[in-house]
Amino acid sequence: MHELSIARSLVGLVRESVPGGAVVKSVLVRVGPLQAIESGAMELSWCAATEGTVFEGAELLLTFVPWELGCRECGRSWSSDSWSDPCTCGSCRVDPVGGDELRLESIEVEDLPNRTASADAPRAVKRSQASKETRRV
C-alpha cells in the first residue's frame, strides 16, 4: 500500500499549488506502469488522505500511461500494456523506455465567488495563509 504515502504527498503538493480558499474539484495525476499503482487502492488512499481537509470531496483522476517500447533491431517504437512484447519485425530484443513517471499534471479549481470582501482579498495574503496551513501538517 505505497498508495497511501503517495496520496499524502499529493495532498501536500496540492496544498502548495492552489491559492488559499480555492475549492479544488479534481486533481490529475499521470502514472507510469513502473509505479505499480492499483487504482482502487489509490482512490481509497486519496479519500483517507483528504478526509477532514479542505480537499475532501475533490476527485482524483489518474491517467495510466502504457509502456513505451523500442526495438533494438529495427528501431521501431510503440506503446503497449506489456513490457515483454516482441516487435512486429520478429525481434525479441525490445527495450522498455521510461515508465516510472508519477506526476501531478493539473488541478481544477472552482472560480472564487465574489460574495464577500475576503474573497476579493489580494492573492499574496491568501498564499501566506495557505503556507501556514502547510506547515501545520
Partner: protein, 238 residues
C-alpha cells in the same frame, strides 16, 4: 472552473529529503545501499554473514526497517554492527524522512558503509528514494523464476541484483536462464550475483561491496586532505 497546470513529481518532498540524506552521506564518504527484497528472501541473513566477514575490516552501520519487532535489529547487533531500527507500523516501505531521523542516531564520520534493510516487500519501497548510492534488489530461487518479470519496477530500478538460496535450486523449479533473460530485457547490463547466504557463498557480493565502498571513500578523499591510513587499510582488506 479554471485549471492550474503544474507538472511536478508527486514524491517531490521525499526526493528533496533523500537528496539531503545523500549529501550528508557523501560528505562523510559513506557508501549507502538500499536493500530491497521480498519477505524472507534472506536480507537479514545476508547482513549477518556480511558483518561476520567484514566487521573488522570496514565500519558498517545498518538501518533495519520492519513493520514490527526488533528481531532483525537484534540479530544484526549480535554480529557487532551499529544498528538503528525503524518500525514502520503499518507502513510497507521506508521513506527518506525516516532515514533522515535514523541518520541522526549514527556517527556517520566513523562509518564506511551503511546498509538499509528495507521492509520485506518487492513493490512499495521501489519508488521511494532514501538517499542511497545503490539500490540492491534481492530475490531468492524459492520465489520462482518469474519474479523478475512480475516485478519489473524493482528490476529496472536496481543497480545490482542478488539471487539468493541457489543451494535450493535442486529442490525447486527455477530456470536461471528464464530469470536472467527477463532481467536482461528489463535492465540491460545490470550486474547480477548468485548467492547462497547459508552455505555461505557470498564472495562476489563482498568484492562488490568493498570496491564500491573504496570508490566512495576515494571520491571524498579527492576533495579533502587524505586521512592517513583509511584508504590503504581498505585496500589491504581486499
Amino acid at each position: 472552473m479554471s485549471e492550474i497546470r503544474i507538472v511536478q513529481n508527486v514524491l517531490k518532498h521525499n526526493d528533496e529529503i533523500a537528496s539531503m540524506n545523500r549529501h550528508r552521506l557523501r560528505d562523510d564518504g559513506v557508501f549507502c545501499i538500499d536493500l530491497i527484497g521480498s519477505p524472507g528472501c534472506g536480507k537479514t541473513s545476508l547482513l549477518e554473514a556480511t558483518l561476520r566477514r567484514l566487521h573488522n575490516r570496514i565500519n558498517i552501520g545498518i538501518i533495519a526497517g520492519d513493520l514490527a519487532t526488533d528481531r532483525d535489529a537484534q540479530r544484526i547487533q549480535a554480529c557487532g554492527a551499529r544498528v538503528v531500527q525503524i518500525n514502520t507500523g503499518k507502513g510497507c516501505h521506508l521513506d527518506a524522512n525516516q532515514v533522515r531521523h535514523a541518520l541522526d542516531e549514527i556517527d556517520l564520520a566513523g562509518l564506511d558503509l551503511l546498509i538499509i534493510e528495507n521492509v520485506g516487500n518487492l513493490i512499495c519501497p521501489v519508488g521511494f528514494d532514501l538517499g542511497q548510492d545503490a539500490k540492491v534488489g534481492m530475490f531468492s530461487v524459492c520465489e520462482g523464476d518469474d519474479k523478475a518479470a512480475k516485478h519489473p519496477h524493482l528490476v529496472r530500478a536496481a543497480d545490482l541484483l542478488l539471487l539468493n538460496k541457489i543451494d535450493l535450486m535442486k529442490y525447486v523449479k527455477f530456470h536461471p536462464v528464464t530469470f536472467r533473460e527477463d532481467v536482461e530485457k528489463l535492465n540491460p547490463g545490470v550486474e547480477m550475483i548468485e548467492l547462497s547466504v547459508t552455505e555461505p557463498k557470498i564472495e562476489r557480493w563482498l568484492d562488490w561491496l568493498l570496491s564500491k565502498t573504496q570508490a566512495a571513500q576515494d571520491e571524498t578523499c579527492a576533495d579533502m586532505p587524505v586521512p592517513v591510513g583509511t584508504a590503504k587499510e581498505l585496500s589491504d582488506a581486499r
